[in-house]
Symmetry: D2
């Protein structure tokens, strides 16, 4: 996973978690999306990634696989917890998932460059809520998702 | 993907789709779950898989990755459309996803043998609804999911 | 809300909560479904209601309103927390909702007698997961739903 | 249901449906929210309501009932289909629900004036996808929801 240097210098919790992620995910399920994923923008409660669809992310009809969409939303929205606004509880780590829901709106074939926008709706003491929209190069919405996470900071 | 010979002989639409899947998914997103997946039981509107969690299905803390759970539910529940009861419209292919939602209830570490039960709630002319429960060897429910699919038979 | 006497005598936490509910919900949102709702069966982790659709539960085209379906699932599945099996943490009260999702499968016109089956999938220290299926008199599945609740017992 | 005169004059499909709604919903499930609901802003793909929580919208602990939140999202987001941008298929009526999911983030007690923002993500030939955010007077997000609808125009 790559990260824009300006984002890296401004958001330290995010930078640390990305660095840790890059060190420890050689053979995990999400390793195959890592090299195609770049953090390109961040502001409080909002984090944007770019991702290019490769052949090994597709389904039998040549579009981004529904399970890969879910994996992208899981990973990308989780990291948005680490750019939270001051009004929220500040989690040190992205916690674990309790619910993930995806709406499939339009397909994205191999080679598509996707823009993945993640919004942190709330992070409280126990739960965080996130919302993700994934657009293609023409600005067409292809997928959206909601994600709920459970804080694990106290158990670390 | 393997299939129990008795299931294969009794459910022809399922058998054809599994055979086609095995031929055409060498480099797709779900290829990495295929070799660990076996169809072990089927009856009208109900299809059961067994799946063993390997290292490349896990997340950074050693449990089955949330995105892999979503991919399993996507793939396994889709095939349950092909063992539909006579009261439903009979789809020839599993269509495309419109919505997928997962609840994460308990973790499943590497080596866990999961039982993936998929129920076809309805298949109509346009939409199908599916519900999945995933248990570990002790019978504990680890994950559940709902999946909605859109029929593509008329476009084939 | 009515309750079968046998269920009432066997499930004391449920009986107490139903009694409290009947005392305190004269003018709440769910009051208008109360008189048409009866608890007819219960076993550990499973609770069944009967409900007859009246005119004031319908939408503009004469079927049970989508918001009324959501309200029924909210209320009925919450009470299933109170018939939990020994393997779960025993909540004294049904807590508050964090997520509710409904699938609309078939319509139910005024006069339909619905069977509302609620399954408690898990109740832990913090969260509970429930699943609901609503059938008409012919046994056709009309609606299904998932519900996640947050325990408030420690704050009472 | 009230509608801002400027919105009414600019969005004719919306105005007609609101007028029809006001004529035909005396005794439906959503009648009890109608008098407290006003359309205050509209632009292509985006529709905003104001709603004041009254006692008969609350639950046993004095907050807006989860089922009333679902009913509000159902009704308000449906009408956003009628202010669609030119890039979408133009539905004449809001169709029927196939899926509705709500996240409960913060409570809203009686007297709260809510702002209900509804975004039309897509309306195609068969399905429409909507996303709703509900804020209190302080701009705090209290609830969010996703809604999928099925077009019925061809059957009218």
């Amino acid at each position: 996973m790559k990260i824009d240097p300006q984002v890296e210098s401004k958001f330290s919790r995010l930078a640390e978690n990305v660095q840790m992620w890059n060190t420890h995910h050689d053979n995990t399920w999400d390793a195959s999306i890592s090299e195609n994923l770049t953090i390109i923008e961040a502001r409080p409660d909002f984090l944007v990634f770019e991702f290019e669809v490769a052949e090994n992310h597709t389904n039998g009809i040549g579009n981004l696989h529904g399970g890969c969409v879910a994996t992208l939303i899981d990973l990308c929205s989780s990291l948005a917890i680490l750019v939270s606004d001051e009004k929220h509880v500040q989690w040190r780590t992205p916690g674990i998932s309790t619910e993930l829901a995806v709406s499939y709106i339009a397909g994205a074939p191999e080679g598509t460059k996707l823009r993945i926008e993640n919004e942190l709706l709330r992070s409280g003491k126990t739960l965080a809520n996130l919302y993700t929209k994934i657009f293609n190069e023409s600005g067409k919405l292809c997928y959206s998702g909601t994600h709920t996470k459970f804080c694990m900071d106290s158990r670390l």
